[in-house]
């Protein structure tokens, strides 16, 4: 039992370590591996130390955490909604976060308040959909999905309205936020911590998730209390997405495609897929961000462009081959 799980995970751990090393070693300022090593041994020059410890390391960790959180959240949403098109943002979470962040910017607040407000917005969106989907009748995933999609459309309208009426001087800040970029992450630690916690949390959940993925009736027949489990997945996925969005704005694609890619390669065992998502999502975003900062340096690309450019052909190839 251990062996089939261990090999792919070991490979992914190796890949993420490689990606991290590349990301820390490569930048628009070229440094030799010796110089980078010297920094970690405490013998680097002041400039190298700033470049590695203040710029590259926090950014790499932020990218890894954001990518990992989004991929795990996407995988959870796909199980929950039993819909292959589900991604972390499908239920309007990024919209709620964006409205929170934009409101803080409109009020002239800066820095940590914007992050806090974004997080509050994301959680508000979560509970709004949670409450409305409950309704008076019976609850189904499709009802949750419809509620979420409509609420998301509502957030979209509010965002457009805010952009249209806000003073011109606030606009650039708002647009950066909406585009999403790892370079604006303040500190990687909440994201990294949450990702670690989640990886350990989903291991005992994996079995129940496997059963749930086959359908609620089957899960109930096998003695799983479906409703509490579903709400737990929903809250967990929302928390992960809210943290990721708060760190780096809404970065698309990772949450949708990484879980699918892994399922095509590894099969649909959630005990394997969820930790694998954390590793593969993190690796993808770290690599994408490294490319985004060096491809046309000194100009910097938004990381979402690179994730899509890397991910689309890979995904299409896997899908094509899987027939």
């Amino acid at each position: 039992m251990i062996r089939p799980l261990a090999l792919p995970l070991a490979t992914l751990v190796f890949a993420s370590v490689c990606a991290t090393v590349v990301s820390i070693g490569v930048g628009s300022v070229s440094m030799t591996p010796q110089e980078v090593m010297a920094v970690f041994l405490g013998q680097g020059g002041a400039l190298q130390e700033t470049l590695v410890l203040e710029l590259r390391l926090p950014r790499t960790l932020s990218a890894f955490a954001t990518g990992g959180l989004l991929a795990v959240a996407g995988a959870l949403m796909q199980v929950l909604l039993r819909n292959p098109l589900a991604d972390p943002y499908v239920l309007g979470l990024s919209g709620g976060a964006a409205v929170g962040a934009l409101l803080a910017m409109l009020a002239g607040l800066g820095g940590a308040v914007i992050s806090g407000s974004a997080f509050a917005g994301a959680m508000l969106a979560t509970f709004l959909v949670f409450g409305l989907a409950h309704g008076t009748g019976s609850w189904t995933p499709s009802r949750l999905l419809l509620t979420g999609v409509v609420v998301a459309a509502g957030w979209g309208a509010v965002i457009t309205l805010m952009l249209a009426i806000s003073p011109a001087r606030e606009l650039p800040g708002m647009l950066y936020w909406l585009m999403g970029d790892v370079s604006y992450a303040r500190t990687p630690w909440p994201g990294v911590g949450l990702l670690l916690v989640v990886c350990f949390l989903v291991i005992p959940l994996g079995r129940s998730l496997n059963v749930l993925a086959r359908g609620p009736l089957q899960a109930a027949a096998l003695g799983i209390s479906v409703r509490p489990l579903e709400w737990m997945i929903y809250i967990l996925a929302s928390l992960l997405t809210a943290t990721a969005v708060t760190m780096a704005g809404s970065i698309g694609f990772v949450g949708l495609v990484v879980p699918h890619m892994l399922r095509l390669i590894l099969g649909n065992d959630q005990r394997l897929i969820l930790p694998a998502c954390a590793l593969a999502g993190g690796t993808l975003l770290v690599l994408a961000d490294t490319l985004a900062r060096v491809v046309i340096a000194p100009e910097q690309l938004p990381v979402g462009v690179i994730t899509a450019l890397l991910g689309v052909p890979t995904f299409l190839y896997l899908l094509y081959r899987s027939r």
Binding site: G27, L47, R56, G111, R169, G173, Q300
Partner: protein, 300 residues
């Protein structure tokens, strides 16, 4: 003879110390007091406007980093670029080891400016919103760069030039003006914008001066309804005049009937730099031309 050597060293040190170590301070447009132990020698200007202002302050030779579109003065094109003002390449910026960064309050991402402060680089954030603010910004930059003689002279030249224009057009007959910032969507400025100030200085009356937003989006109908006597437009690039041709569809507009459709090179009016003096002069000349085309009409 050894003592003479020491004497020279000590005296030299005493004389040089106040010059070398004198700290310089200035308050930026975020109301932050920025102090440098000695005048900045390596300046990074993070907007095209900041680059121009640094040169105006006499500190052009000290600028070691600029951002994309920093095309004026021509010497700025030879300075290393660190990316666009919305997304800087932080590594390339840090490796140039600036001892002063001129930031743009609303143009640069606050997170990237915060990172610069965290690694110990002083950031002086600017956002001039009036003619006087342009002069004051030049003076403050000159203090930080230790180039006060040139900076104060340039700031004063600009101040004087604007004051002279203001005096010339103080009693000029009012001309109603529509200034077109952008074509699609159609955008103008309100009275608080620097360009709005320019319109008023030349004896113009901005037909949209009372709108709430600094750069409002408006409809073509609103322009037709306001029926301005003159329409002035920038454009993309310095020679692109097609923005004005759309108004010829409305021959009943006073501005069209009198051919008062004027092109103003956007770089002369849209960047808050001393070049605005030239832009304002051009602006005033166009309005004067519009006044001269009133002949044949009886005016009260």
């Amino acid at each position: 003879m050894k003592w003479m050597h020491w004497f020279a060293v000590v005296m030299g040190g005493l004389l040089a110390a106040p010059v070398l170590a004198s700290p310089v301070c200035a308050t930026d447009d975020l109301n932050q007091r920025v102090c440098l132990e000695s005048p900045a020698r390596r300046i990074a200007a993070l907007s095209p406007g900041a680059t121009e202002l640094a040169w105006a302050a006499g500190a052009g030779g000290q600028v070691v980093a600029v951002v994309a579109f920093s095309d004026y003065p021509p010497a700025a094109r030879n300075v290393t670029s660190v990316g666009s003002h919305t997304r800087m390449d932080m590594e390339r910026l840090l490796v140039l080891q600036p001892d002063l960064v001129i930031g743009w309050v609303t143009g640069n991402p606050t997170e990237q400016l915060a990172t610069l402060r965290e690694v110990g680089i002083p950031v002086f954030s600017i956002e001039p919103r009036s003619f006087e603010a342009v002069s004051q910004t030049i003076e403050r930059l000159a203090v930080l760069a230790g180039t006060e003689t040139e900076g104060v002279a340039e700031a004063e030249r600009f101040r004087q030039g604007i004051a002279e224009l203001r005096e010339t057009y103080r009693n000029a007959a009012p001309v109603s003006v529509f200034y077109q910032v952008w074509d699609e969507p159609l955008m103008t400025v309100n009275g608080e914008h620097l360009i709005g100030e320019m319109v008023e200085l030349c004896g113009g009356e901005n037909v949209f001066s009372n709108l709430e937003r600094l750069v409002p989006r408006i409809s073509a109908e609103a322009v037709v309804a306001a029926d301005p006597e003159a329409i002035l437009a920038g454009g993309m690039g310095e020679e692109n005049r097609h923005w004005l041709t759309r108004w010829r569809k409305f021959p009943s507009l006073t501005a069209v009937a009198r051919n008062n459709l004027f092109f103003i090179p956007p770089s002369l009016v849209q960047r808050p730099t001393p070049r605005m003096l030239e832009g304002t002069r051009l602006f005033c000349e166009k309005l004067e031309l519009a006044r001269s085309r009133r002949s044949g009409e009886v005016r009260l």
